[in-house]
Symmetry: C2
Subunit: 342 residues, 2 copies
């Protein structure tokens, strides 16, 4: 019992709640014996979703809540007024050590702000970054920040690099991950003053493998494992990848349906194409962690289905097993404090 | 003779110079009778490329130069030291009214800086933006700035909006083009102080059709005709579109070649797919203009072939016919000056 990893799961968040959230939980429980899920939300609705399904009921419990923070609501205001929402209650469980991690497909801003306000930052972390994983030709990279830090200080960007490196090495399993900063050219002197300052600090940082600038065209080619940027640029990158992929796929599909010949061809290529595209399917990678908090908080896509929810839960297990929070705590302790401990 | 539009064409710029540059010029001359091209570069090489080709030699001439600015060179330094380069001589021809427009596939930084230094800004234009056209689901949009203004003032962004609107309306033929600013959300209060200030000014500007924010995922969907942003974000967007498209296409191709069944399918879909992808072929749209200069300067892709060069030349004709420079001059004149003229 003691070694089980406890996930508080926002059963009311996202487009497919609670049905697919509950299904994701059951899926994860079936894959691993050392997980326990607390479904946070409207008990009646959760019971209805659980009904007639087979699962280990020793490892699923329900924490009833009466309110829901909608995707359209102002994050901080909603967190303040809806004290009995699945989001607020689920996050507080992490703070109170009733859960090791919180997973939600709900309001992104509320997950981020709630992580900061209700779970709290690790001492020394300036700004906890929101860090989605991006599928690339070579595997997967982490992009940080995609959260609320539109104008981060250069020192924050160094912390993004450090925390992202720990995540990629320990959770994703990439040894000595390559760190790069998004810039408008490969040459070192590119970018504005702030980027120049960040580059200087990144070069001096001895616990990361900084390889220099990355131009955006190299991101999906897998040009770096840890991609550091401000949240404005991070948001633009994340949404643009989504937009370009969606437009290209929809135009290709239209093209394939345009003639009889191409329709037959489309049937023939379907299995191979599907296999290719699975590689770029973000749901494979679970959710985006908020790094640098006192406990793990993970945000999945708003339209997440059972597979993504299940993967996000499994991701929390690795995070917990690898003691990422403790590693980040050690990393962020100022040198003098470390010294006086010894 | 008097009504001919004269293009000074950098015969030495880009990966395929001079052969494809010369071919592009011949192509454009064959399509229209009212163009005259001055090929600027090494006369011997240009003559070798022209040899045995059929063209109207009354409308092609050569301006011999002895130096070439390479793509890898520092733009401003190269412009200063290589006075007899095709770039410097070609740009100066626009300043001296020996040509109406300059087209180059060479060093982007040098085209931009050279446009500013050698052709000169229209009075009142803070920063001439580099403004590529982006193919979208609905047609084409203009993205500005993608040049050197990494941290433009809000007032510069308003000028980008104004000049981009003129271009889209007069050259591309979109009436009342929709202007949007790149931001991290649809809501008006998103973004940092600088974006907030720019939004305020854009709302007050009465000669543009400002529709608010655009999130990057809507860009290829054709969410706006004129997309305003700083050059850092513009660069990230431009290169990321290129990168995502290239990665997706190469992965799809790999997938199609993976089984016999998919190979047969690939043959069947090829014509339809080709037709679809032509829509997203940037070479269709010629080059990216630098707006707000005293004459037209157009940069094509470094790997431009004859079609793109030819389209870039035709684009200059429309620009000239529509008197874009004059419209921008009128637009940028301060109100009091306009008054005293009347």
């Amino acid at each position: 019992m003691e070694n089980r990893i406890r996930i508080s799961l926002d059963a009311m968040g996202g487009d497919n709640a609670p049905e697919e959230i509950v299904n994701g939980a059951i899926n994860a429980l079936n894959l691993r014996n050392d997980i326990e899920v607390i479904l946070v939300g409207c008990e009646d609705k959760i019971r209805a979703s659980l009904k007639a399904k087979s699962y280990d009921n020793n490892r699923i419990s329900i924490r009833n809540t009466t309110e829901v923070i909608e995707t359209s609501e102002h994050p901080v205001k909603a967190l303040r007024t809806k004290k009995d929402s699945s989001m607020v209650v689920g996050l507080k469980m992490v703070r109170e050590k009733e859960a090791d991690a919180f997973v939600s497909a709900g309001n992104s801003g509320a997950v981020l702000a709630g992580g900061m306000l209700l779970v709290g930052r690790v001492k020394g972390v300036e700004r906890p970054p929101f860090a989605p994983l991006i599928p690339t030709e070579k595997g997967v990279s982490i992009l940080l920040d995609c959260g609320a830090n539109l104008d981060p200080k250069p020192i924050s960007m160094v912390q993004f690099a450090q925390m992202g490196s720990v995540y990629m090495e320990k959770v994703v399993g990439i040894p000595n991950p390559r760190v790069a900063i998004v810039n408008v050219g490969a040459e070192e002197e590119k970018g504005n003053k702030k980027i120049q300052d960040a580059i200087e600090l990144l070069k001096q940082c001895d616990n990361i493998n900084f390889i220099g600038n990355i131009e955006s065209r190299e991101i999906l080619k897998g040009g770096a494992d840890v991609i550091v940027t401000d949240a404005f640029t991070g948001n633009v990158i994340l949404k643009l990848i989504e937009g370009v992929a969606s437009t290209l796929m929809s135009e290709i599909k239209k093209g394939l349906m345009s003639t009889l010949r191409s329709k037959i061809g489309a049937l023939l290529i379907k299995p191979a194409l599907k296999k290719t595209l699975v590689k770029f399917d973000a749901t494979e990678y679970g959710g985006a962690p908020v790094l640098g908090l006192k406990g793990l908080v993970v945000k999945t896509h708003g339209n997440a289905t059972r597979k993504e929810i299940s993967n996000a839960i499994l991701q929390c297990v690795t995070f917990q097993e690898q003691r990422i929070t403790e590693i980040i705590e050690d990393m962020m302790r100022p040198a003098e404090e470390v010294k006086s401990d010894e």
